[in-house]
């Protein structure tokens, strides 16, 4: 059955009179709207980075710095075995922290998203995870010291329980305590994005997997894990960039016995070697950017943003 009808053409004459006058505001408005963010980014992101890049080419001695264009800061940095060792150490911290926070983050998020049925409890437990964030990073780190120390709570507890005779030395001022503090500080950055990804998974998909004969483990591996990848990627970016740039955790928890790139830069700044610190920062920025790009190449996170 077909029906044909004459559709009256919309009349344009009435609107045309007003539209013909050139109006400046509508053309400028989008730029005005984008301006505050642009100015903020220029002022607080681009200018500082460009300054760091510029200073990294300057010359310095023990007293002052000279505007110049020299490559010595970079050659000294890249040819020093200390740099390579420090990078290796920092990467080790990043890898360990990443692996452990991923394990914890995935498990906690999975439990919250799939095993807690009521939304109220989900929110309560989720907020519980954020409680450590109500105190400062430093406080949270320092509170490990009396717990883990040679005569700390844990050692004295284990000794009095008769489990060990000698205090465990590796607990504090070691790689163990550094990684422990990192995990404590940054696990939530892994939990939140993974939880967010998991909450977006249609529950019918889990039933569909079960309907297709998948066991719980098969569903986890074939359905939940692939659909959680964007959250894992976002969490990984947080954790890796935070650990790569850290200096205070490493200084406090290793008792000054381990180094990280951030700590190296901080030392250079305290010795007023700004150009060397700047060159170090530029290299670190490049390394972290490469790591982030690599992660984004593996997982497409756009649909999560």
């Amino acid at each position: 059955m077909t029906l044909t009808a004459e559709t009256p053409r919309p009349t344009v004459t009435a609107a045309a009179g007003r539209a013909r006058r050139p109006r400046l505001l509508p053309r400028v408005a989008p730029y005005l709207q984008a301006a505050p963010l642009t100015v903020a980014l220029l002022l607080f992101l681009l200018v500082p980075i460009l300054t760091i890049v510029a200073v990294s080419f300057w010359d310095y001695d023990s007293v002052r710095i000279y505007p110049d264009f020299v490559l010595t800061n970079y050659t000294e940095l890249l040819t020093s075995p200390v740099t390579w060792k420090t990078y290796l150490n920092t990467l080790k911290y990043a890898a360990l922290t990443w692996a452990i926070t991923l394990g914890i983050g995935f498990t906690v998020a999975y439990f919250l998203a799939f095993h807690i049925r009521s939304t109220t409890w989900q929110m309560v437990l989720f907020l519980l995870c954020t409680i450590p964030f109500w105190t400062s990073n430093i406080i949270r780190m320092i509170s490990w010291i009396p717990f883990l120390g040679r005569n700390g709570l844990l050692n004295s507890g284990l000794i009095s329980a008769g489990i060990i005779d000698q205090p465990l030395e590796f607990l504090l001022f070691s790689d163990f305590s550094v990684v422990l503090a990192f995990v404590h500080l940054y696990a939530l950055f892994m939990v939140v994005p993974i939880f967010n990804s998991m909450m977006r998974i249609d529950r019918a998909l889990i039933e569909a997997a079960r309907d297709g004969g998948a066991s719980a483990a098969q569903t986890l591996w074939n359905v939940i894990l692939p659909l959680t990848k964007p959250g894992i990627a976002i969490g990984s970016i947080f954790v890796v960039t935070l650990v790569m740039g850290d200096f205070i955790t490493v200084r406090l928890m290793s008792g000054g016995q381990s180094a990280s790139i951030g700590l190296m830069i901080a030392n250079e700044i305290s010795l007023l070697q700004y150009p060397a610190a700047a060159a170090n920062a530029v290299v670190l920025l490049a390394v972290v950017l490469i790591m982030v790009v690599a992660m984004l190449r593996v997982v497409d996170i756009r649909k999560e943003l």
Partner: protein, 334 residues
Amino acid sequence: MTAGSTVELVKLRKAYGATVAVDGIDLRIAAGSYCCLLGPSGCGKTSTLRMIAGHEDITDGDLLIGDSVVNDDPPAKRGTAMMFQSYALFPHLDCTDNVAFSLKMKGVAKEERRRRAREMLDLVDMSRYAGRLPSQLSGGQQQRVALARALITQPGVLLLDEPLSALDPFLRVRMREELKRLHRDIGITFIHVTHSQTEAMALADLAVVMNQGRIEQAGPPRELFNHPRTAFVARFIGGHNVIEGGGVGDAGRCAVRADRIQLGGADLPTEIQVEGTVRSLEYHGASVHLSLDIPGADEFAVVLDEARYFDAPVGVGDRVRAGWSRRDVHPLAA
């Protein structure tokens, strides 16, 4: 293809805390039949389907598929396959891998399962889109893929949860025909949940009308339409007027089909006659639907053949005489 299985519900009950969703229903669905569970939202039809599928625990009673009680079996062991209302295709897998999913879970080798998945996609006419992700498909296409995914397990019972509700009306009619063709071709038992009586009429061998967790009536659509057991069924199936006493003075309620009612003046030949006012009027092409205000009925619909209406047209607000014969009066149990 495997033959269908019988499905039998014995005093099947589902309660969520104090709320009873399904209140001890008994039903036997013959092997290879097309059964539609029909009812308004919240009547328990979806809970029933989900219990049959194994996605909802059975509170009480027994569920038999074939000859065995399957209350505690996981879905894959029951020989059922479900097609979800939202289709529930895995968004990260292309059509072939979606269809091949259950074979992968069983550990079928990659080449073999992809080959069988492509055969299945061929059956639902989707082989052209084998490499696409679900997000790149239209609703109708997603549905075909979901159907292929359900059928690849060679189930004895296919469970469909409001499969047509997300489609536009034109596509809905086409998919309806296709479901019927598929049912005839593969011969397994279909259980289809819907709130549309048109869908149930068009598809079912066995239509089951549910209300408040109970079965109001189960039977072939023609039986439901011509012999509705209760006022609820008569109203839900549509095309019926529920009248106190049926105009014959008998005790209880009666149903009279709207298309068996005649309009006319004093010369109306029918045994039973009432007077009323035309409240509204709709032209439907082949027929004209009138709604009358008459005493003893909240709603009174008359469906007249187009030609018969235009022989003696009436307008909104006119006083008319409506009549029907005694044999068209169908007494209702409740």
